[in-house]
């Protein structure tokens, strides 16, 4: 059963990578990275149980943490010109940041 779950997670990771490479807009790619991160967390925990070494769970926790911080970092710096001027409400289509 564990092996089946690991294979499923692998398939999900490959799908995420396809979207990551193909994704037209930047935010599709951030979404792919986010999904890829959560899938790696699951993969590591499952590997921990498949290989019978439960120490792996610390690494799974760090993965989730790092994934969270890098996605926040990407979003924080992707809308770069947010600080140029006060963000008005009716934000029309943004030109190249």
């Amino acid at each position: 059963m564990l092996i089946a779950a690991t294979l499923a997670i692998f398939v999900a990771m490959i799908l995420a990578i396809i979207r990551g490479i193909a994704g037209p807009t930047l935010y599709d790619r951030i979404l792919a990275v986010n999904m890829f991160g959560t899938k790696t967390v699951l993969l590591i925990s499952l590997l921990g149980f498949v290989m019978g070494r439960p120490e792996f769970l610390d690494i799974a926790l760090v993965y989730a943490l790092i994934n969270f911080i890098s996605v926040i970092g990407v979003l924080r710096y992707s809308d770069t010109n947010q600080f140029k001027h006060m963000p008005t409400e009716d934000k029309s289509i943004r030109k190249e940041p």
């Binding site: 290989m51 019978g52 070494r53 120490e55």
Partner: protein, 127 residues
Amino acid sequence: MLIGLFNDWIVVVLMMIGLYIVIAHGNLIKKLIGLTIFQTSVFIFYISMAKIDGGTAPILADGITQYSNPLPHVLILTAIVVGIATTALGLSLVVRIKESYNSIEEEEIQQQDNDEQLSTNKAEENA
């Protein structure tokens, strides 16, 4: 034969991709990323060297006899930190180069340097 060495061949392919990026691409950040890929593939080569079939992680636990070799892990811990140190220094250089040359493409920077060199030589002739 194939299965045994397949791992190393993929690592060699990764190394060559990293080296190709460093040499062929003009963008300075792309070069640094190529360098990271090149170094990460060397780490993967070291770690796949240390693995024993049926061996588990080198943390002593009762009831387990076969452990993978811990020494390459120690070497790679050092090498990862060296890699991030070089990347951080390279990125700070890229920021300063962008500020002074206003471009991070290798050809443009080289062009600006050559023009500056020519202008100083010309100034020297008529001086």
